[in-house]
Amino acid sequence: MIAPEQYPVLIVTVPLLSAFLINLIGMVDKRLCYPASLLALGASLAAALAVAARVAATGTIHYHVGNWPPPFGIEYVIDHLNALVLVVVAGVALVAAIASKRSVEQDFPDKRAQFYTLFVLLTTGLLGMTITGDAFNLYVLMEISALTNYSLIAMGGNRALVGGFNYIIIGTIGACFYLLGVGHLYIMTGSLNMADLLQLLPALFHTKAVLVGAILMLLGAWIKMAFFPLHGWLPNAYTYAPSATSTLVAPLMTKVSVYIMIRVLFSVFGAYYVFTVLPVKGLVVWLAVAAIVGGSIFALAQQDFKRMLTYLIVAEVGYMVGGVWLANQWGITGAILHIVNDAVMTLCLFLFCGIVVHKTRGHRLENLRGLFRRMPVTMAAFAVGALSMIGVPPTAGFFSKWYLILGGIDAHQWGFVAALLFSSLVNAVLFFRVFEIAYFEPAEEVHGHGAAVAIDEAPLSMLLPLVAVAIGLIVLGLYSTSLVSTFIQYAVPAGI
């Protein structure tokens, strides 16, 4: 019925259309919103998988929306890089949606329709940002995902409101910087299409306007991904967000922003400009080092489990940005692989966090007491995620770290290598501290010894996704080679 050539646009439009339907359905019966969202996200994932398979088989796909040829119309370009990211985004969103059922029922039973509509729209925004080949279209979708994100966070009430407000202010600055950067390129070239810009820009590489455009777009992406020292908004916004929200945005928001940075750098400016003309190469790597070290140290200082995780996100962003600016094959491969791995790892941790919040009504470290006895399966799955964050083989986290460190050695960026190792060690300390609390300290309600703690596992709708993701982490680790050879190696710009 619908030709395979149309699949790229389905990835985005199916969830978009479904979102409005979900909103209408919710007026009839709130209970239908959940299955409808799963259906929509599942369809999107299926389309993304089909497109990824086609990209792997035949190479880059171009899709002209409205049948207008670029640069006059808007074009979707799916190459090896975003085919992969699309699958990750759609997959993570689906898993997060599956797990959201009980949290949503607990947190805002009356706003389920609004929640799921915004949830699906946020995913749409992220998918659209990933798939597009047009610099301005990217901005519009960035705003969709941002606005949905603000409101999903603010739905948490109380402190989430304050976090959400700060996020709006800073997020708007970020988006505006990006838009301004696009404006600088537009005034100099007259085009908004990325491929067209890549053709037109080399003649203008010497101008300050292009330089400023690049810096503004980078700053915009960095604010959106919470790259040190622009990370101030993230911990508050994510810590106090409702669990169902943070499960979706924590794994995806920063990762998609990193993708956008990579996309803008290599598909608009080109590797030559980024690594040879831009005078910031060393600086960025050192900023990444600061992000990794700073994020890790702040994470150490937290007494709140979820907040600790948010600082880890800040550190992980440093991994990816640093990896890209190592400017070699290993580093960029590692950064892209880490987008995938970190999305899944963060998903695992936040799924766990969602379970903790659901079960204990809190996310401080003391809420974790005695969980090894109470929820052995949940804890086992969490342990896999934690080990992946530490970078223990054969979990996924180890392999991207492997590439990144190799890249650091190759580029003689010893500070970056040291920061990666430092962060692994800090993660080990952090997570074993968590394990200790969950393993050694009895839950509060149990007094005295010998009182057997009844096993009280998480509801299946939360447990199954978590276990699946934990297994996925190991599978992803074992298949990281094929991921690199099928997708990532083509995504690394040639000639570096």
């Binding site: 409005f20 979708l141 949905t148």
Partner: protein
């Protein structure tokens, strides 16, 4: 373009901007900010951006200001004097502003001269639209054809942004669960009709139908003159907001229920995305309206594009109208829909 005129407008804009952020009285600040938006409209009209100016007049100077006023009335009207000045933030703010300003200034040295007809932006992509809009789409207003067709995909998401805003305001402010199936809770019925001036009420009652008629004209005539879905939708919304302001919220909700509002908002975007999907089902690319000639009687592919654009503009109008009213209602009633402004 008369540069003296430009200068006056720009100077006014600067004054309004500085005033609106430095006034201690938030109500005044909001009103000055409305004036700022209006000055902006003048500036853009003067630069030939009539559609932008139109939208800004309706959105920026119109509903935004009303939103602001409503919000300020519900919160605190005064900026409180501080015990300790925010020196740190002031310093950061000033440093960031100066740094960005300096960088931008440096970049502007490389820009082509303002208004240069030979600048890259004027000769690369945009001439294509100007020259081909009539042969491609039979729509003389290039802004409309680019908005709804060449870059119609952007606009679809832009409409979604509006929808998101409405939904978000509802999700954040809305009180659910307390209300029964209908919007009218017990206390709602108890609120007496606010005693506004009868002159204003009478005037508004006369104005509203004309406003709505004008809105429809703006929507329908967007192909040929400045205007279109956005502007039409905002004017429609303004007519409802006017009722709310001159009478009270209850009077307006009586005419446009919140539930229907949400349906309209969803429906609008669905019309847009649905038109795109229809093209897809007919075997063309998403939003390739030309394929609609197969189902529209006696229509060439070119005219089909024109009709397709009209369809999506209607969708845009629905959503914008519904969402603007929704936002206003929720802000003005603090989510309770039971009080007037």
């Amino acid at each position: 373009m008369i540069w003296q005129f430009d200068f006056i407008i720009l100077a006014l804009a600067l004054i309004c901007a500085v005033a609106s952020i430095s006034l201690k009285d938030l109500l005044s600040a909001a009103i000055v900010f409305g004036a700022y938006s209006f000055v902006m409209c003048l500036l853009w009209t003067e630069m030939g951006a009539v559609d932008v100016a139109f939208t800004e007049a309706a959105v920026g100077a119109g509903v935004s200001t009303v939103f602001f006023l409503a919000a300020v009335l519900h919160t605190s009207r005064q900026v409180k004097p501080r015990r300790h000045g925010r020196f740190f933030y002031k310093f950061i703010g000033a440093a960031a502003a100066l740094a960005i300003g300096g960088v931008l200034l440096a970049a502007s040295a490389d820009f082509p001269t303002w208004g240069d007809p030979a600048s890259p932006a004027s000769i690369h992509v945009s001439p294509h639209y100007i020259i081909n809009t009539i042969p491609d789409t039979a729509v003389p207003n290039v802004v409309t054809s680019v908005l709804a067709d060449y870059r119609g995909f952007d606009t679809m998401f832009e409409t979604s942004v509006i929808f998101v805003a409405g939904l978000a305001v509802l999700a954040i402010l809305g009180r659910f669960g307390r209300r029964t199936r209908d919007e009218a809770p017990a206390e709602f019925a108890a609120v007496p009709v606010a005693g506004q001036s009868p002159i204003i009420q009478a005037a508004c009652r006369i104005m509203v139908p004309f406003m709505q008629l004008f809105a429809l004209y703006v929507l329908a005539h967007g192909h040929h003159s400045p205007g279109g879905g956005f502007q039409g939708g905002v004017i429609l919304a303004a007519s409802f907001i006017l009722i709310a302001i001159s009478y009270d919220l209850r009077a307006m909700i009586g005419r446009l229920r919140e539930r229907w509002n949400m349906v309209f908002a969803s429906l609008g975007v669905m019309i847009y995305a649905g038109t795109g999907a229809l093209c897809l089902l007919l075997g063309a690319n998403f939003l390739d309206y030309s394929v609609l000639h197969r189902i529209l009687p006696a229509t060439s592919p070119i005219m089909a594009r024109s009709h397709g654009m009209l369809a999506v503009e209607v969708g845009v109008c629905f959503t914008v109208m519904a969402v603007m009213v929704l936002i206003y209602v929720n802000i003005a009633s603090h989510g309770k829909s039971d009080k007037g402004l």
